[in-house]
């Protein structure tokens, strides 16, 4: 149905191009740069006829009657022009190009472009062209037309970036040039933000609503004035900035997911939920009572066709004699998401037969996710210009993502005889990021500028009363061979409380000295103080009945709970997940930028010192209850840009980047597992990488581009999990450094417009290899089963050899219609690295196709839009690349690989109205 709809829509576009009468055609361009002036108006005086310049600057006025006309051409910021034309015959085609001159207004160049065009594609291309280093930019204009509502999903549109999805199929983390999430960082307006993750540094990108952004930058080569801990790249979200005049825009969107037109959405309420665990309320010595635990979050309610609602608003102006500027942006998204997943659970230890490391399918599950999400983003920018030399600004950001996830698991779908369990899990998670930045920009002397920022950030995640409940029955075989199902018994119910926070105080200073118009020196530094804490509490409520009998399940309301043994009523406050971490980072840099004729050379060095510490729950008798790790890095970089022409650059750059281990990775807390114990590793070294970039850039017209690039990374001490022996035949699965990994690749980005049609795309080839130790479970020459270690060389986790995007764009400013059909391809990659040799989980190459369109209503401020995502409903398939002898099972269609997961997400549709003043 949906595919047909697109086809019709496309057809209707095509039909709008037909004319057999006199017409007037041409292009409107900047007189100086020859760039097309997209959106310039051309009017025939004293008529109602006219046109708006298309993406390539072209215009066309059709159906002209014979006669003479006066033409008026206008464009904001340019001096208007007029001309006379004469139509002599009814089939004549008049051709004429117009060159407009910029109005002479002596505002600083950068500010003008930032203020006027910060959100459009032309500005994005300009940023890419003019930047000192290698980056890719996606503008708000592009974002507006994309079907993506979160930054997590937008990222997959950026060249060289693929995303790691969450359980509902939304992009959550970025893999940049094959470098997994740990190798990248996230900043807002250039200020790095902390993560609500309980163990790691990387920030879940699905927290951020897309509509607050002015643009999204992915920086792939670091300059000395940037924080140095990125090897893949840095994702910088530039939030909507303060305008020079009143702006007001708002959108209201509604929609639904196709998934819930086929099955009900089964959600739960958290009205009675306690944000604090019983032990937090009453103390660790408190013996919890069964009445302290709510069953509300296990009472699922079906909603037939849940409707999403999304609202956004932004308002900004400059008041008090243009001294005080403000911008307030708000976004609220209430959505229902979900997925259906077939899950083939592999046993934690493979079989030694017939060959070593033969995977064993342990159970087949169907997992049904119902996620209700409420995403709130608030963004307030204030700036005050004391005079032309001094300006301060205050930036505040508040993000909140509430996620109510109900996971229903039907286990052992194919059980003939044995236990069959159904599990329901309710997880309510609230994640917050708060950031407040006070910044000043001062011109101290004619050639000396001073900028400073003080930053307070707080990232929090709370998962109060995560509840797990399962019901088990047993199917046995009767004497007649037929299955007999036992009663259904309720198992113990667990309640887990976790919360963690990261408080981050950072100060930045930058001094910029313009020695001459072509030579600029800068220097500065930063200092960060981080304080993290993690709380974990788990209670298990027994369902065993007096007499030791199992309890037959009727309903959760009827279930009787006890604490058996009684000691289980006490919180496990010593759980190893409770830990605190601190980090102090100091940095200083020196940077010089020299422009000599067509060359720009930017180089310098950055020094970063790291002091990381932790306090764990280990006993005082163990090694490493507390730990402090400190080191210093010297990070040189050099960025050379050669201007081949006004529209072409060649860049070559080198930078050294680092990645610090996660906060919990260095904590030697042990998590015993059935097949191996996992532990942190305080001997873990941070990763250092030498990165070389080469890029050719061609910007034929304002919004067009062609980028050809190549990169090479030499990664020293990459961090991967592996086995470390700590005693006689005792191994622990722990983060380790594995020598040196290599990663290289090439990318191409292009955008080309022809009249109202555009095509844009990118493709990245990446090749990385790392060699790690892995376990082999096989037999020795005597036939005894033996564990041994071997090495495996493979791509880095998350690295796809091929990723790409292709979009077909239609923009017609005349009728106010924009449309885009986008295709994203993520090539096969390792999703999960197995501890066992050659048993990694590979995600099959996947395609996603989305369509979006927006139509302006005449000359009003209103437009309507529609966004249709995941039109092909391609499943996400994860496989182990080993021979498969399970063809009798569903979805196991291949003999050369074993399917372990298949997620079906289905289409989602949204429709909305935008107001823009």
């Amino acid at each position: 149905m949906s595919r047909k709809y697109i086809f019709l829509l496309l057809l209707s576009f095509l039909l709008s191009f037909n004319a057999f009468s006199a017409s007037f055609k041409g292009k409107i361009k900047d007189a100086k740069t020859n760039e097309p002036l997209v959106g310039a108006t051309i009017l025939l005086k004293n008529t109602k006829m006219g046109s708006i310049a298309a993406l390539d600057g072209s215009f066309e006025i059709k159906n002209l009657a014979v006669g003479s006309y006066e033409v008026v051409i206008q464009y904001i910021g340019y001096e208007p022009k007029s001309a006379k034309i004469e139509v002599k015959t009814a089939t004549q085609i008049l051709l004429s190009d117009f060159l407009l001159n910029e109005q002479v207004s002596q505002l600083a160049e950068t500010i003008v472009s930032a203020k006027a065009n910060g959100e459009n594609d032309e500005y994005a291309r300009k940023t890419e062209q003019k930047s000192d280093n290698v980056l890719n930019v996606i503008s708000a204009k592009t974002i507006q037309l994309l079907p993506d509502i979160t930054v997590g999903n937008i990222l997959q549109r950026v060249s060289g970036v693929s995303v790691v999805r969450n359980s509902t199929g939304d992009g959550q983390y970025a893999v940049i040039r094959g470098m997994d999430k740990r190798y990248n960082y996230t900043s807002i307006n250039g200020v790095k933000i902390p993560s609500p993750d309980n163990k790691n540094r990387y920030v879940p990108m699905d927290i951020f609503p897309a509509d607050l952004l002015e643009r999204l930058e992915v920086v792939k080569a670091l300059t000395p004035n940037m924080e140095g801990d990125a090897i893949g790249g840095a994702m910088n979200m530039v939030m909507k900035s303060v305008p020079d005049y009143l702006i007001l825009s708002a959108t209201a969107t509604t929609g639904y997911s196709q998934l819930f037109s086929n099955q009900p959405f089964a959600g739960f309420r958290t009205k009675d939920i306690q944000f604090k665990s019983p032990s937090e309320i009453h103390g660790n010595l408190y013996a919890a009572k069964t009445t302290d635990f709510s069953i509300k979050n296990l009472q699922y309610k079906n909603v037939a066709l849940p409707i999403n609602s999304l609202l956004s608003l932004s308002v900004g102006n400059r008041i008090f004699n243009h001294k005080l500027g403000f911008l307030l942006g708000g976004s609220y998204q209430h959505t229902y998401r979900g997925s259906n997943s077939s899950f083939f659970n592999l046993n934690g230890q493979p079989s030694p037969d017939p060959l070593p490391n033969s995977p064993l399918i342990e159970s087949v599950q169907k997992r049904i996710y119902s996620n209700e999400q409420a995403r709130l983003g608030l963004n307030l920018k204030l700036d005050y210009a004391f005079n032309s030399r001094n300006r301060i600004s205050l930036y505040n950001l508040f993000m909140q993502l509430d996620d109510w996830q109900h996971r229903h698991v039907l286990s052992n779908q194919l059980t003939l005889f044995g236990d069959v369990g159904n599990n329901d899990r309710s997880v309510f998670r609230r994640q917050n990021i708060y950031n407040s930045t006070l910044q000043g920009e001062h011109t101290l002397a004619k050639k000396l500028k001073f900028n400073w920022s003080t930053v307070y950030s707080l990232a929090k995640s709370q998962t109060p009363d995560w509840t797990d409940q399962s019901v088990t029955s047993r199917t046995s075989q009767g004497l007649d061979g037929k299955p007999i199902e036992s009663a259904r018994y309720i198992d113990n119910v667990s309640h887990i409380w976790t919360h963690n926070e990261d408080r981050d105080l950072t100060g930045y200073i930058h001094l910029i000295y313009s020695y001459s118009p072509t030579i600029e020196f800068s220097s500065g530094g930063m200092y960060r103080d981080k304080d993290r804490s993690n709380f974990y509490n788990n209670y298990s409520l027994a369902t065993v009945l007096p007499g030791g009998e199992r309890q037959i399940f009727t309903s959760i309301e009827q279930t009787k709970f006890t604490f058996r043994p009684e000691s289980f009523a006490y919180a496990d406050s010593t759980n190893a997940n409770n830990y605190t971490a601190k980090e102090k980072i100091g940095a200083g840099y020196l940077q010089a930028k020299v422009n000599i004729s067509d060359w720009q050379i930017l180089g310098g060095v950055r020094v970063e010192t790291t002091n990381q510490s932790y306090v764990s729950q280990l006993p005082v008798t163990a090694t490493g209850k507390t730990g402090k790790i400190s080191y210093m890095d010297i990070l040189p970089s050099l960025h050379i840009k050669y201007k081949l022409s006004e529209r072409e650059n060649v860049r070559i750059s080198y930078f050294k980047g680092i990645t610090r281990p996660g906060y919990f990775e260095i904590v030697p807390a042990t998590f015993p597992g059935e097949y191996f114990n996992e532990s942190g590793n305080y001997k873990l070294k941070h990763t250092q990488a030498d990165n070389i970039d080469l890029r050719y850039e061609f910007f034929p017209r304002g919004n067009e581009q062609l980028l050809l690039g190549a990169f090479l990374k030499n990664i020293k001490n990459p961090i991967e999990f592996g086995f470390s022996e700590f005693g006689n035949s005792n191994f622990v699965y722990t983060p380790l450094n594995f020598g040196t990994a290599k990663n290289y690749g090439a990318e191409i980005v292009f955008t080309k417009y022809l009249k109202n049609w555009g095509v844009s795309g990118n493709y990245t080839y990446t090749h990385s290899r790392i060699t790690t130790t892995k376990r082999i479970y096989g037999r020795d020459t005597n036939g005894s089963i033996v564990n041994s270690l071997g090495t495996q060389t493979r791509p880095l986790q998350g690295q796809s050899d091929h990723i790409g995007n292709l979009s077909l764009i239609y923009k017609n400013s005349q009728i106010g219609l924009d449309a885009q059909l986008s295709w994203v391809y993520t090539g096969k990659r390792i999703n999960i690295v197995s501890p066992y040799k050659d048993l990694d989980y590979w995600q099959r190459g996947t395609s996603q196709v989305d369509f979006s369109t927006e139509k302006k209503f005449g000359k009003t401020h209103f437009s309507a839009f529609a966004k249709l995502t995941n039109l092909l409903n391609n499943p996400i398939i994860v496989e182990v690349l080993k021979p498969n002898t399970n063809q009798n099972l569903p979805d196991q269609t291949r003999t050369d690989r074993i399917l372990v997961q298949k997620d079906i997400l289905q289409q989602s549709y949204s429709f909305g109205i935008r107001y823009k003043h």
Partner: protein
């Protein structure tokens, strides 16, 4: 229990006091026989301060020691516990003995050692409610052989009321807050001897080794596991013998062998001459076995075991043609041998499971009851069969345990009490055993740093063979 003066094989460990009772011969030269000193290492540990922290030396005979914290025996250190010493846990803290060196608990038949909680009394009543039984509460932690441990030698020792919920775990391989085992190890080269001892109660498995060479003989296991738990749950890296043990009322299995855990060498065990009574009935999730179990890559033998009213007979997890949905992984079936096992059952339900349905246990012609007396000629391992012919048949004739079982439920029996599982002279289990295999000699034989002897399999079935070489309790 009566002391038997059988000094043949056992002479080396006879308590020194007995020697002085021998009357000197009436000759002109004095023949002097005096007792040897009790084995002692290092300094005597004072009874005045509670045991806590690093300790080495000797806990003296007949002394009572209070535990006031986790006790550590460091690498290279040895702690000896002399006969009759009592180690008392306070009961409100899950204290552990963490062995990085050697622990020798050298009780004797006359003077056993106790690891117990004086404030808690046993409540052994048939059919009592397990949810209120203190045996399943866990009042202290356990004895843990760390990855460096050399010897854990436990003889004639009562290990009672342990296996509680840990706080901050003093053990490298146990999580904080985990449910403790009473005895556990994690060094495949460490020597573990558990002889003539008693393990009573636990929330989970009383004994779970993650690596050791072991000889576990002539012990009594009662009330192991609350709603799940094996008497001895053997993971990878373990090699040894589990024989002549009496198991009453284990939550799941008596001994269970698996090769999970990722430690070398492959789990290789010999389960022989054990008597297992009424086990498998407190397992909260169904169908995990109820007597003897081999799963996930484990190998070994099982012979001469006597099982009375257990929920399942010996269960070997094997490759099944059809995926059966059970999260149990194939044992190393090619390297498992068994037979001469004896099952007595009082109900049809368990009679239908002495060769558990869906599993790979192969009937042996020497099993009792004889497979051909009730299995169809076409029987294949794992198939459903009708066991009605064997209900109440082949009474093993214990000295004192009424069969058919008179309790309301099979699982109501969980302790020994006044029962006596020795065989009457007319028992059909006598003379039916198999002695044609060699025991795994993996631990040294020594009065102190080893096993008193590696007793080979017996011609009689069960833990109490008629020649008296079996269980002494």
């Amino acid at each position: 229990m009566k002391i038997k003066f059988k000094l043949n094989l056992w002479a080396t460990i006879v308590v020194a006091g007995l020697a002085s009772m021998l009357v000197a011969c009436d000759t002109s030269t004095e023949e002097v026989v005096v007792s040897a000193p009790l084995f002692k290492v290092g300094q005597a540990v004072s009874t005045k301060t509670p045991l806590s922290g690093s300790i080495k030396g000797t806990l003296l005979s007949d002394s009572t020691y209070k535990v006031g914290g986790d006790v550590f025996i460091n690498e290279g250190d040895t702690l000896v516990i002399q006969p009759g010493a009592k180690i008392h846990f306070p009961g409100d803290k899950p204290y552990c003995f963490v062995v990085k060196g050697s622990l020798l608990s050298l009780g004797t038949e006359a003077k056993p050692v106790y690891f117990t909680v004086p404030s808690v009394a046993k409540t052994d009543i048939l059919g009592a409610d397990p949810t209120t039984d203190p045996a399943y509460k866990g009042f202290w932690g356990g004895i843990y052989g760390e990855t460096t441990f050399k010897n854990i030698i436990i003889k004639w020792t009562h290990l009672e009321f342990g296996g509680g919920k840990l706080g901050t775990s003093p053990v490298s391989y146990m999580a904080n807050g985990a449910t403790s085992y009473v005895l556990s190890t994690k060094n495949p080269d460490g020597i573990l001897v558990l002889e003539d001892s008693w393990m009573y109660g636990c929330i989970d498995d009383p004994f779970r080794p993650f690596g050791c060479k072991f000889n576990v003989m002539r012990n009594t296991f009662e009330k192991g596991g609350f709603t799940g738990g094996e008497s001895m749950n053997i993971k990878s890296g373990n090699v040894g013998i589990f024989a002549y043990n009496l198991i009453v009322g284990s939550a799941t299995n008596g001994p269970k062998a698996s090769n999970n855990g990722g430690v070398n060498p492959q789990t290789n065990v010999q389960f022989y001459n054990n008597t297992i009574i009424a086990s498998g009935f407190r397992r909260s999730s169904a169908g995990r076995g109820g007597s003897i179990n081999f799963e996930e890559g484990s190998r070994g033998v099982y012979y001469n075991n006597l099982m009375v009213n257990c929920k399942y007979g010996p269960r070997i997890v094997g490759a099944t043609a059809n995926y059966n949905g059970n999260a149990l992984v194939v044992a190393d079936t090619a390297n498992i041998k068994g037979g001469y096992n004896y099952c007595y059952v009082d109900s049809l339900k368990i009679a239908n499971e002495i060769y558990p349905t869906g599993f790979a246990t192969k009937p042996s012609v020497n099993d009792i009851p004889a497979p051909n007396s009730f299995l169809p000629a076409t029987y294949k391992p794992g198939a459903v069969y009708d066991g009605s012919a064997i209900v109440g048949k082949n009474n093993p004739m214990f000295v004192n345990f009424p069969l058919p079982q008179t309790t309301k439920k099979m699982g109501d029996v969980s302790f020994v009490g006044s029962f006596n599982f020795r065989l009457q002279a007319t028992s059909p289990a006598i003379g039916k055993g198999y002695t044609g295999f060699t025991p795994l000699n993996v631990v040294p034989v020594s009065a102190t740093f080893g096993s008193s002897a590696i007793t080979p399999p017996n011609k009689d079935i069960g833990a109490y063979p008629s020649d008296g070489t079996g269980n002494k309790h």
